[in-house]
Amino acid sequence: MSNDKISVSTATRMEDASYSRKILAAKIFRITICVILCIISLFPFYLMIINATRYTKDIETGISFIPSGFFIQNWNTLMEKSAGLGTSLWGAILNSAIITFPGTILTLYFSTMTAYGFFAYNFKGRKFLWAFIMAVMMVPGQVTIVGFLRFMQTLGLYDNFLALIIPAIAAPTVVFFMRQYMTGAFSLEIVEAARIDGANEFRIFNTIALPLMKPAIATQAIFAFIASWNNLFTPNMLLASPDKATLPMFVQQMRTEQFTIDYGAIYIGLFITILPLIIVYLFLSKYIVAGVALGGVKD
């Protein structure tokens, strides 16, 4: 009897051992793949930073993983070359900020407002209008650009930042997200209590609904800001004056002939344009990574 028991327990132990060895092998294999993927994700940025510190002639001779001492010199070359572009690096950052900050604020305020309108009130045609928002959510802006461009020319808004800022008021995907969030985290009883206290509807929205929506607004703010900051296609179509270039349009200039021979200056230019986003990402990555999953569960 006792002999049997022993043999059984040894067998399970041996099974356990081979099982945990299997797990360990799988773990090592998976971690290796994940580490390789991380390296692939970061490598181009690493190479960019290293090359930003190297002498152009050295960069042309081959790859290196050790920084060199030409950072300042490359920086000066970049400043010299970009002086002839019409928009300086700082000007481009300023232009991008002038478009992105008001645009993001408009998107968030009016999207929350629209979502609140659908959430808190019952009016005729509500279902139809909501279905309309759902239907147009997937229509990409690029397909309307020709009509938009011609229309802006008629309105006199071609080559004007307003043509890039005002449309931010209507962002169907953000409205959709906001309403979803409201359904889960917002109770109409607070609104009714405020009404009894005599607050008017817009005051209720501004002082009660908006603060309650802070977490959702913060998440959407990050994504709206990044999308607008990185946008190349729309400003490229709508802006013409050399002094109105946004940051991505400034970056675009680095592909022109003025720069093609000077890799050091190109790498440092890319480094400077990417740096603010990397810093923002370092601080907000937790929220961004969590926000991606939130935005995705749409059904």
Partner: protein, 320 residues
């Protein structure tokens, strides 16, 4: 029941405020998005072009713009058709590896038996490329794979290629690198979406399958994949719509900066790049016609996917 009617009554009483709250959105949407869309349709039937620097509008034309979009003068495939082909090729070679790798990673990162430490840091790192300005990323890759680029040099030193301009003088490597950049930028995003999908599956289903002695592969094929179908459909449709509008990466990777057309020989010109080229050269009618076709293709493909997948869902339910 009684309280419900009271509540309903109250919301209706305040209902008119609802219009005020949604009015700004709808006004701006109608003026700045819906009207431009309709106007694009109208423009696609207008014979507008630029001749000797002057814009000429020859008025209404039913077929001229569309005919020139579909048929080239010399009988070969028209530029528009070619750009749709380029876009499709670049998208497919980005999407297939992307969805496969993302599925694998989603399963790995949610596996409770083989727990991976540092999964959070991993997610943050693979998502990083998605946040960075695509314009900068495109130029970064061009600097690495262009003539005298460090990676071109590396591959030459290994003896795999013998030409400094290998990556930019051939269609396949140029498209391949654009596909890779798209894949590299987006697989982190897809992985995060699929992970949230896997986490949404009721864990008791996996527990039951464990008791039944299912292998990991069986669980993946018979539980994870079918349960992930809605979110995979979402990923597919959004990636497809985004892919059809692909602009930033190809427009700065291997292009003629004077015309904005992809090299070599238009092999990397996408639909939106072509629309921009037509617009900048004053061919508004043709640009509008290409836009309308792009819109219709986008619409048809997404509707097809939803109908197809919806049907399969219904059938599966009937079976069950």
């Amino acid at each position: 029941m009684a309280t419900q009617t009271v509540k309903k009554h109250k919301t209706i009483e305040y209902g008119r405020y609802g219009y005020l709250f949604i009015a700004p959105f709808f006004i701006v949407y109608l003026v700045f998005q819906l009207w431009p869309l309709i106007y694009t349709f109208i423009l696609s039937f207008q014979d507008i072009y630029v001749k000797y620097g002057d814009e000429i509008n020859d008025g209404f034309t039913l077929t001229k713009n569309y005919a020139s979009v579909f048929v080239a003068n010399d009988g070969t495939a028209s530029m528009a058709i070619r750009t749709f082909g380029n876009t499709a090729i670049i998208w497919i070679f980005n999407f297939i590896p992307q969805i496969l790798l993302s599925l694998l990673l989603a399963v790995w990162l949610t596996d409770t038996k083989v727990k991976l430490k540092g999964a959070g840091a991993f997610k943050v790192m693979v998502y990083l490329p998605n946040v960075i300005t695509a314009a900068s990323i495109s130029i970064l890759f061009f600097s690495m794979f262009g003539p005298n680029g460090p990676l071109t040099k590396l591959v030459m030193d290994l003896g795999w290629i013998d030409n400094n301009r290998f990556f930019i003088d051939n269609a396949a490597p140029t498209r391949g690198i654009i596909s890779f950049i798209q894949f590299w930028m987006w697989y982190g995003n897809t992985t995060l979406l699929l992970i949230s999908g896997v986490l949404g599956i009721n864990p008791s289903i996996f527990e039951a399958s464990d008791i039944d002695g299912c292998t990991g592969w069986q669980k993946f094929i018979h539980i994870t994949l079918p349960m992930l179908r809605p979110i995979m459909l979402y990923v597919l449709v959004t990636s497809l719509i985004g892919g059809l509008q692909m602009y930033d990466i190809p427009s700065l990777f291997n292009v003629n900066m004077n015309t904005g057309r992809g090299m070599p020989d238009d092999a990397s010109t996408t639909v939106t790049m072509y629309i921009r080229f037509l617009t900048k050269t004053g061919n508004f009618g043709r640009a509008a016609a290409v836009s309308v076709i792009l819109f219709l293709v986008t619409l048809i493909l997404s509707v097809l996917f939803f109908v197809f997948m919806g049907d399969r869902d219904k059938k599966a339910k009937k079976k069950g």
